[in-house]
Symmetry: C2
Subunit: 201 residues, 2 copies
């Protein structure tokens, strides 16, 4: 009460290790990145990989799902800078960010989880979607709406359909495309293909 009293009175005793907390979350994400599904993740494996006692985990999270929620929540969406020179360029930037992420094992597996286990762990996904995918959706929506306003894109374009075309085409490549990473120019090719369409002339 005398010296350190800024807001919350620090209780006596050894303080919790920030490093341990970070190591736990890191280990969790690493294991997810190694292809583990939510139901295959074990607290014991996480503790072991983090070099931490199970106690230290249970002192912070009451169960496995809580831990995973927090771990996924730390994944932020580093949206690319948009040059704004043209809708095409901005879309390419956004799509290329997707391409680069598809090469990262961790992001890739998180995506897998998001797509397949959303039904089973709804509150886990609710939080993750809000944190990680909503910002990207909004960014792309804004670009498309801008394009419609400036006349670069069809005036009668359904914005949701446009997003589905671009993101879906890219998603398809990340899923069923060649194993060894995606070509660097794929983003450009995808955007041009979608902008132009398949019909002749």
């Amino acid at each position: 009460m005398t010296i350190q009293d800024s807001g919350t009175a620090r209780p006596a005793g050894r303080p919790r290790s920030e490093k341990a907390e970070k190591a736990i979350i890191d280990a969790t994400l690493d294991l997810i990145g190694e292809g583990m599904g939510v139901s295959e993740l074990t607290i014991e494996a996480i503790a072991s990989k983090a070099g931490v006692g199970k106690t230290t985990i249970y002192r912070r999270w009451s169960n496995k799902e809580d831990l995973i929620v927090d771990a996924l929540s730390t994944l932020k969406a580093p949206l690319p800078e948009l040059s704004g020179t043209s809708v095409r360029d901005d879309l390419i930037s956004l799509v290329d960010a997707m391409r680069q992420e598809s090469g990262d094992l961790r992001s890739r597996c998180v995506m897998n989880i998001a797509m397949s286990e959303a039904d089973r762990y709804p509150r886990l996904m609710e939080r993750f979607l809000k944190r990680a995918v909503e910002p990207r959706r909004e960014a792309m929506r804004a670009v498309i709406e801008l394009g419609i306003a400036t006349g670069e894109l069809r005036a009668d374009l359904d914005v949701e359909m446009g997003m589905a075309m671009i993101s879906g085409t890219m998603l398809w490549h990340t899923k069923w495309g060649p194993a060894g990473g995606l070509a660097p120019d794929l983003a450009e090719r995808v955007v041009d293909a979608v902008l132009r369409g398949m019909t002749a002339s």
Copy 2:
């Protein structure tokens, strides 16, 4: 050796029940359709749901994965009849088949598994892909190539990109579209959107 000797000599004893086998595979697919991932499926749950002893399962499959491989292999791809009147119509038929399947819980969950657990169970997926998705890919590829030949589609169209655009756009809707099923006219809208592209005029 006297009467029934057509090719394989039937061994003595009670023959294996076809019905039990069918019930086992059905129960497996049902549980998958209820949202269970591969690692959450239990032999005991399958046996219980099928009204069958575990023995009967292990007599046929040596482990869980073998059973799931066989179960998924029985899912056939009922490709739609293609009218052949136009590339647009044929594509709509193919995409609408995807839409209808997306409403079926079982197919939906199988798709989830295929997309997220392919890395973890490679031989499971190898077989499933060959059986279930290759035929559809081939059908769509044939339609697109025909369209290029007849001039309905751009001569310089990348066939793989075209497939990615159509299937990916539809995939996007099945994943992040409205919860209560997809609109009946979605296939038509998707195909027209992809054919036309996003660019103005």
